[in-house]
């Protein structure tokens, strides 16, 4: 089996992986980082979104070997110790989650949106959330949380 060297949340890791192992299973099963979820497994829901070199990608649609030599950030890596990331805080303050299943992917997507788009408004946020599904909230408070975090 090939060996991969991946920096996950600031830590250099070296591991043997099967070629066909998806990045999401490497993170969840091998690294015990179970914050990244699998919602659909058909590349549509965005529950599995992580950052690859700072950009949002679907970890269910990528092989672990493709991340060799790269930096990955998961939901476990965004807070600063006990201090939540501003986007996490905004989701808490604005009730941006109900069951919480979609939330890790939503937050990783939201951080990416805020990084890329300087002047966010509701329309842009809704368009940018194209790749993230939520079965609970109706998106209202998710959009509110992202706008609040962007304006902080």
């Amino acid at each position: 089996m090939p060996t991969v060297n991946i920096n996950v949340n600031g830590q250099d890791l070296s591991a043997e992986v099967e070629e066909r192992q998806l990045l999401v299973h490497f993170l969840r099963d091998d690294m015990d980082l179970t914050g990244t979820h699998v919602g659909c497994d058909t590349s549509q829901c965005g529950a599995c979104v992580v950052h690859l070199e700072g950009k949002a990608v679907k970890s269910c649609t990528m092989l672990a070997v493709q991340a060799n030599g790269k930096n990955i950030t998961t939901i476990e890596g965004v807070a600063d110790g006990d201090n939540l990331h501003p986007v996490q805080e905004a989701f808490r303050d604005h009730h941006g989650l109900q069951c919480g299943f979609c939330t890790p992917g939503m937050i990783m997507a939201a951080i990416d949106i805020i990084n890329r788009k300087p002047n966010l408004d509701e329309k842009i946020v809704r368009e940018e959330l194209e790749g993230n599904l939520c079965r609970c909230t109706g998106y209202q408070n998710i959009v509110k949380s992202i706008l609040a975090a962007a304006n902080k």
């Binding site: 070629e19 949002a56 493709q66 890329r116």
Partner: protein
């Protein structure tokens, strides 16, 4: 997914060598089509060649009258490229309308055209902007490249190196996205050159992307809504599925064409 051998390469020569050694080998670019297909076991290559690290495939060039995009350039890189936004804004907005941000961060132009999905966006740009597709051993005009459903002129050992688009006087791409997947249920790419008006259509035909010559002729006489309104796409040979039957889809194409014209006058 069945297992395979994974090779990450740095040069086109290495790709050629690996492709010639084994028929069951496939190129992996952004993986946004291939990996879902392999997960469903609809594809089971014995070897995957990851081309994402080949520097000579990753560039955007401004050649004056044309722009060239290397095959591993992602949709996100095209949509945020200063060159593309300035020279062919409709191409930047086409790229920004593909799937969702996560797909756009991985998916590539080379993968999209090599796959030639009948509802994909880039093939319309290639036909409408008289693109030349450069491979490791020849140059293919877009009109000869897209052959049918998921079928292109690429040979077994051929790899897309880059795509060169001519810069039009003006152009517009209008698509009606499938509400779930964002692939086109109808997409129309209209470009105006000094000597021609080109109209390419995706999402509609059972044979994949095509040039809509009746509309081109009408709009060459005069680029007007009136002329566009006189032309209707026949629903013969138009796809029909749970999302839209052929008459509805053909009508969507008419509407997208009107919107594209409206955008340019």
């Amino acid at each position: 997914m069945y297992n395979f051998i994974y090779e990450k390469v740095n040069t086109i020569q290495e790709v050629e060598k690996l492709l010639s050694e084994n028929e069951e080998t496939k190129i992996l670019a952004g993986g946004q089509t291939l990996i879902p297909t392999m997960k469903q076991r609809l594809a089971s290559p014995s070897t995957l060649i990851d081309i994402s690290g080949i520097d000579e495939l990753n560039f955007i060039n401004d050649n004056g009258n044309s722009v060239t995009i290397g095959s591993t350039v992602t949709h996100n890189e095209v949509s945020s490229s200063d060159i593309i936004m300035k020279k062919i804004p409709s191409l930047a907005s086409l790229a920004e309308g593909i799937g969702d941000p996560h797909v756009r961060n991985m998916g590539t132009i080379g993968g999209s055209i090599a796959n030639n999905d009948p509802t994909a966006d880039y093939p319309t740009a290639c036909l409408s902007l008289n693109a030349k597709i450069k491979t490791n051993n020849r140059e293919i005009n877009a009109e000869d490249f897209f052959i049918g459903l998921f079928e292109t002129a690429l040979e077994e050992n051929e790899i897309v190196v880059s795509v060169e688009f001519n810069i039009p006087k003006k152009s517009s791409y209008m698509k009606f996205p499938n509400p779930a997947s964002r692939y086109a249920m109808a997409g129309v790419y209209l470009s105006v050159f000094d000597d021609a008006v080109n109209v390419a259509v995706t999402g509609a035909s059972e044979n994949g992307v095509f040039k809509w010559t009746e509309m081109e002729e009408a709009l060459s006489i005069n680029l007007s809504l009136e002329n566009a309104k006189n032309i209707k796409l026949s629903s013969d040979g138009v796809m029909s599925d749970i999302h839209a039957d052929s008459a509805y889809r053909a009508n969507l194409v008419d509407i997208m064409a009107l919107r594209a014209v409206e955008n340019l006058i």
